[in-house]
Structures are given as structure tokens and as C-alpha cells.
Symmetry: C2
Subunit: 520 residues, 2 copies
Amino acid sequence: MKIVWAGSRHAFEISDRISKLVANDPWWPDGLGKVSTHGVVYARLIIDGQEHGIHGFIVQLPSLEDHKPLPGITVGDIGMKFGNRANNTMDNGVLRFDHVCIPRDQMLMSITNCGACQVYYVFSNQRNKRTPDDKLSWTDSLAPAHCWNLNVVSPLSPLVYETLVFVRQKIVQDASCALSKAVCIATRYSAVRRQFGSQNGGPETQVIDYKTQQSRLFPLLASAYAFRFVGEWLNCLYADVTQRLQANDFSTLPEIQSCTAGLKSLTTSVTADGKEECRKLCGGHGYLCSSGLPELFAVYVPACMYEGDNIVPLLQEKFTFRNSNIGLRTVSPLRTMAYLGRIEHRMQYRCNVEKAEDWLNPGAVLEAFEARAARMSISCAQKLSKFSNPEEGFAELSADLVEAAIAHWGVKQQLKLLCGIYSLFLLHKHQGDNLATSCITPKQASLANDQLRELYSQARPNAIALVDAFNYTDHFLGSILGSYDGNVYPKLYEAAWKDALNESVVPDGYHQYIRPLLKQ
Amino acid sequence: MKIVWAGSRHAFEISDRISKLVANDPWWPDGLGKVSTHGVVYARLIIDGQEHGIHGFIVQLPSLEDHKPLPGITVGDIGMKFGNRANNTMDNGVLRFDHVCIPRDQMLMSITNCGACQVYYVFSNQRNKRTPDDKLSWTDSLAPAHCWNLNVVSPLSPLVYETLVFVRQKIVQDASCALSKAVCIATRYSAVRRQFGSQNGGPETQVIDYKTQQSRLFPLLASAYAFRFVGEWLNCLYADVTQRLQANDFSTLPEIQSCTAGLKSLTTSVTADGKEECRKLCGGHGYLCSSGLPELFAVYVPACMYEGDNIVPLLQEKFTFRNSNIGLRTVSPLRTMAYLGRIEHRMQYRCNVEKAEDWLNPGAVLEAFEARAARMSISCAQKLSKFSNPEEGFAELSADLVEAAIAHWGVKQQLKLLCGIYSLFLLHKHQGDNLATSCITPKQASLANDQLRELYSQARPNAIALVDAFNYTDHFLGSILGSYDGNVYPKLYEAAWKDALNESVVPDGYHQYIRPLLKQ
């Protein structure tokens, strides 16, 4: 029996709002444009004018004989995207339906339930006690009438959130790899390149020895390491939550959803900005495609958009603010919020650093971070309480909430020398918030900066070893500037001659355009 | 008479250190790769083993008959660069010389003088009393022997600095245009796009109404306007300095050189980052080439490198620090440093803001900026004074010097509502420095942020008009998302079908790769 979907002028109304575009047409799915034979389409199910929520449907797109789109289906590529190659090797597609009919058994129903009796109703081709006869019409059913009151799986369904968590923790792990590639290239090239500072005709200074270079590069190196450990931590959390779910224990799910949302946002933003910074750190040659850096940037930046634009996940930090309000009654089984449990202590905290070296104590840095995050959360909560309508308050204060969420996610990192650089760099970067919340004094902030500068000097001798430790092959890096042997300039020169424009000595168009100008 | 240049294995040793690359070969010059017939080459002049400084030489590169490189000359394109088109329409070149000989009269000598007698010695083809007979050998001359002690024009030569100033002020003007294009696109599309917030089935909320969007977009809009005015101000300064130079008045030259260096760095950095921010503000569609935004970014980012990498000009702010040390004896004929003239007042300044609205007084904001800049300069000067070797001090504190220079260049801006947004945004962005220097209290910082949020609401109704005021045609913007009529989605759809990949319904490679997979 075929199902005809009711709707407006199009057969489907697509429920994925991010893709909601040209009169609700899908736009962006990878592989849709030219290659795919089938798609899973999420749409509002409307029967006899009544909405039944969002459901998934398997839809064949082109003929399996000649690959031409089936009747009523228009499908194609969305056009060129950022970068020379980057994601242009992928045919992201646009799709339109015009009264397309599909068999009922192509509706994905394994996790759909009836809102009234909680019976999981399975529609499939498999013979199953609960499966209605495929030949029955839609309105005929062996099930009670209320079983047609179909609900999409509850938003708190473990299966949905498990998938969301899995994808986001993978993104965090990828961020470390992505950032470390760019940092590896920039660090190696900064050691190769020499500029100014020649004494008595001797060699010029390696760019990596300049404090201005170190202050931009080494925090990124530290971040790459930090994100690696965060990614592994999230991976452990994910394995843990999967086991708990199998035992019907949902206690850690809200917190891990919050973790992955916030860390997805933080790590992808830092990584995208960091890749561009690495490109700039390579000077003019960072603009060449053979540096590998433009493409690394162009390929990566969508990570700030997919699986949740980076602002929205931070605003989903209601978990944080809810716990700020709860204070002592903080529920944080994963202990990412444990520091909010002693809220009075956080509010009264005064930093006791007196010398620059005191900032080498990770505990001192951690306490300052925790105090700042706690106070910013409390401040937001207090401002929110002045609004009679909480939603209006959230809307008006959304920019402040984002900043508070960012403050929270800077807390959970532990490293050694790179830890020192990472943490003091963040302390300096967010000096405004640290001082505004009186966690530290201006004098202590200055000492932190002095200590940070000292740590750059300590990190300098090991910088190359630290990026070699990523163990990336030259092939994987895809960058001449980042060559393991540092033999950059001959390779740049050699690569230039391989460019298509150099296939002929005399360029196309010489006789047509240049010669007449010279000879007139 | 031909001149043979002494040197290592190559005929020229190129003096442009930025291009000093493959055994000192030139790399990057626009138009060099395939098109140019001649180049001006700057090289160290060495005669009989003695250095005579850097001089310019006109060198023919290819034959004027068939465009093939002349003997000893290797020239070609350096390869693909960032972006799909961007600057890939330009043949940036690489050039090598192998014992190339050129006539002596191709040496550019109009501003070269003899170090001893200050006689401007002109070598040219024109008959001139001071011109030696072209047929004389190099060592023969009618001039006194010491006139062979040739010097390159003094670094303080007005002609050299006038050119530098002209180019940099043009870059500042271009920054406004560049940023305003991206802001125009992002603002218009933010008004078109709707997401979430639907009440009772009504339309969703325009993205431009979200505070998170306004807090990222409106400061960029304000910056685009601010840079426009700064560019015009610099243009006036340039006209003024040109007139003064003609009257041999060099009094404003150091200060205008400092202005253009600092503002070049500031405006191009903000513009490059701002363009990428505008792209992100358009969500996923900002990743499409048809948005115009990837290309706007890829074309523009070299501005952060050419005419001085953006860190180096800020470190040339020795003018600022020299004046910080001078204090009351500040020499600032253009009055960009006038605020340093009352240094004790700046050091004792305490902000008197009590209510959020007090921050609408431009004088209050300006005083806070001036106090912060002055105190950061003094702090840097004090730290520098602890080094017995000033050069070592500058190297060690270079990152701090950059931050102080940035603080100085935030001071000189005056606007109205956008002024309020621009100034309070900067106050918030640099909250760390403002609090660290005790210019404002945490309470006052919080009030500034409250006022900023209020200004975003006030700017919202006029946002579209403010970008329409740039008066850019759709053709000039080159962006579907930024279409004047806001009819984005049909145009996006129409543009997609023009992509080369959609020229055929069935893609190339279907029979070769996909069909066998399906049929196996």
C-alpha cells in the first residue's frame, strides 16, 4: 500500500530546520548531489490533516538502472564551497520532491511509540507479532485506535542522545588532530625561517625565537595537547554512559550532553581560529596552497557549524545555570560541576599568589578559573531573575550567557609545562573577566603574564620535539612548510614548477593579448 | 659598457628580505610569473669585492619578440594560492638570475648620492653636466674619486617615507571598503534568515533579532564606519604632509609614519577577522562560494602580511614609547599623542561613571581609553628600563609592546550611535587591560556592558539602512546572501543549477564506478 503524504505544494515538509531552505528543500547532505541512490528523509507526517510528528523515511532517489532521478524528484549539487579542494570533493546536494509516493514499509518505525499505551509499534517488512499485515490500508490496523496517535521518540530518548553525544565527542577528538596538524607546520616553519637580527654578518634570527611568535604559537601548541586529553576523557565518558544506558541508568546523560555540547563549541572555535593563526604565523608563504594551511582551514571551518552552530550549544548550558541556582544541591555525577558545590567558598575566594612562580601551581590556576566561572554563572543567574519572563531574560542576556559558558569550559584541563602555558594564556586572555569578578588582582594578573613569558622561553627548546611527537608523515601533513627535514625552500621552488601555469614557458594568451600591446 | 655584478653563484643577491627565499630568489611579485617584460630589481651592488649598498636596476626578463626568458633568466609562477579564484587570477612570480648582464644605464640613480660630498650623482641616458660619458668604463669617471663611495638614499629620505605613508593610508581606506562589503552581506542575510522562536505556528524569529547575533555583527558594522572615517582622516594627513615636504618641512613625518604603521596593522587585522566572522554569522550558507564571503576573506587576508606583517608595524611604535618616556615633553604635532602630554593626569585618572547611561558620553569613554593606553605605555617603559641592553628588553617584552600599541590605536575614533557601540565594544573586549590599569572598576565595566546591550537594541531598526548606505550594487557585492532585495533562497537554488557538476544529470564516472558497485 502506498502512502501519499499530505502537504503544501511539495510532497515533503522537511523537519531538519538547519536545512530548511528553499521552500523547505533539503540542502547540504553529503553525497546527495550526484552519487547517492537512497536517502533517509525526515518529514512531518500528516494524515487526513492531522500532524503525527516527525518521522524518518527511506526514499529511493534515482533509478538503479540509469541513475536518472525518479519521477517527481529533482536532485543536484549545491555548487562550489570554500577552498580550492577542501570539501569540494564532496557532492553536497539539494533535493526537491513533487508528490512522490513511497511504500508504507519505508517508514522508519523502530523507535516510534504510541503516545497513549507506550507500546513500541514496529512497522517493518519483517514478520513480527506486532506488525500489521503489509496489505492493510493505512487506516486499517490490528492495533487499538489510539495507537495511531504516533509520537516521535521522546526528546529524552537514550538512543537519540547517545548518538548526539557520540558524534560530538568525535568532533572534539578530531579538533585535536586538526589543530595539531596546523601547529606542527607552523612550528617547524618558524624554526626554518630566519628574519632580521643578524650580528656581524652572521645568520639572522629564527622566527621561533621572537617572543611575538611564541606568544601566538605556543598557546596553540598547548591547546592541541589539551584537546587531545579532553577528547580522550570524553571518549571514556562516552564508553561509560553507553554501559550505563544498557543498564537503564540515565543519571549521567544530562551532564555528558552538556559536556559534549560545550566542549564541541569551544574546541572547534579555538581550532578554526588557531588554524588561521598558524597560517598567518607562516608569513606570506602561509598563503600558498603548497603550505597546506589554506586547505586545512577551509576544510575545517564547517565544524563550527555542523552538529550545532557554536553559539547554540553554549546556550544549551542551562544545565550549568540550573546548577548555579541549585548551589549546594548541585547534581553533577561526572563532577564537572563539582566546583559549584561549594558556592560560598567560590564567592569569597581571594587568590593568594604573591610571586610569578606561584602561578606554576596548577591548583592556584584551577581555583582562579573555578571562582571566575562560578561568579559569572551566579551573576547571570541574578540578572536572569530580574526578568518576569525567563525566556525573555535568556534572549536578552544570551551574549552574557555565552561568555559564562565559555568560562565554565576553560576549567577542566590538566597538563605539565604546556599546562602552564595553556592555563596562564587563558588567564591572560580572559583577564577582563578574572579582574571583573575580583578573582585576582591587577598585580597578580601582571605576575601571571610575567610567568607566561618565562614559560615560553622554557618551551622553546622543546617546541620541535613536541610537534614531532604527533608523528605525522609529510604525506599526511600535505605541507611543504611543515616538512620533517625542514628543507623548505628547494621544495617550494620545485613545487612551483609543477603548477599548471608553468607547463608552457610562454603563457596562453601571449600572442592574443600581450604581443599586440608591445608591438603597437 | 656592461656591468657584471660580483656575487655568489647567482648574479644578483636580492636585498628584499621578505622575498629572500630560495638562495635569495625573488618570490611573490605580482605579474612577474608569466606576463611582465621588465622588472625593477633591488640588489646589493658589489664592485671589486666592495659593498655599495642597495640599488635598483631595470632588468628585461623575456625576449620582446617571443616572450621566452632571456639567457640566464628563469621565471615562472609560484603556484596556487588561498581561495577558489581570489588572487589566483594574478601570476605571482619566482625569478632566478645566473650571471645576467645589463647595461650600466639601467641602474636607477636619481636619488643616490655620494656619501662624502652629498652631490646627487645622476647616471642616466640624458645629457647632464654631472653625467659621466656613457662610454667610460666603470672605474673611469669625470667625478672625484670619492664620488664612487655611493650610498643608498638615506633611510629618512622624504621620498621613501612619503611612498610608504601613501601606500599604508590607502590600505586603511581599503580596509573600510573590504569590511563593509562583508558586513553588508551578513546584515542583510541576518534579516532574511529565520530560525526558531515560532509562536503559535507564526513565522520564526529573524536571526538579526538575537542578541548573540547582534553582539557579533553590530561591532563589525560600527568598525566599518569607524575605519571609513579613519581612512579619510589619514587621507587628509597625507595631503598635508605632501605639502609640507614640498616646503622642506619634515616635522610631521615621524608621527604620520607611526600613524599609518599602527593603523595599517589594526584595521587590516580587524577586517580580516571580521570578514571571517561575517561568514560564520551566515551559518552554513556562508560556506558556499555564491555567498561571496569565502572569496572576500581569501582575497583580503594578504593585507595582514604585505607592506609589513601586522606585528612588525606595531613594534615600530617606538615613537609612542619614546614619547611615553618624554612625558610632558611630548612632541606630537598631529596631536595623536597629545593625551600623553598630561601624563600625571592620566596616571591619577579615575573613571566617574555611575550609571549605564553615563557611558553614552564620548568624553567618558575617550578618557578611559587614553588612561589605559598611557598606563600601558608607562608600564612597558618601566619594564624596559630594567634591561641593561634596550634591544634585549624590546625582544623579551615584544608581546607586551604589541598590546600597548594596540591600546594606543583604539583611542582616536569619534562616531554617534555606532560610536557608542564601537567604543563600548572595545572597552568590553579589552576589559582585562582596563581593569588591570584601574582605569575603571568592575562595576563600571558591568555598566558599560549593560549599556552596550541597550545600544544593540537601538541599532537594530536601522541596521539594514546602515548597510544600504554603503550603496553597493549586487554585482559589486558578488553575493547571493547579500542581495539587495533579500530574495535569497530562489537565487541560491538557481545558482546551484549553474554549477558545472549539474551540467549533466548523470555524473561522469557513474558507469565506471557506481553502476558496477550496484550491479555486483
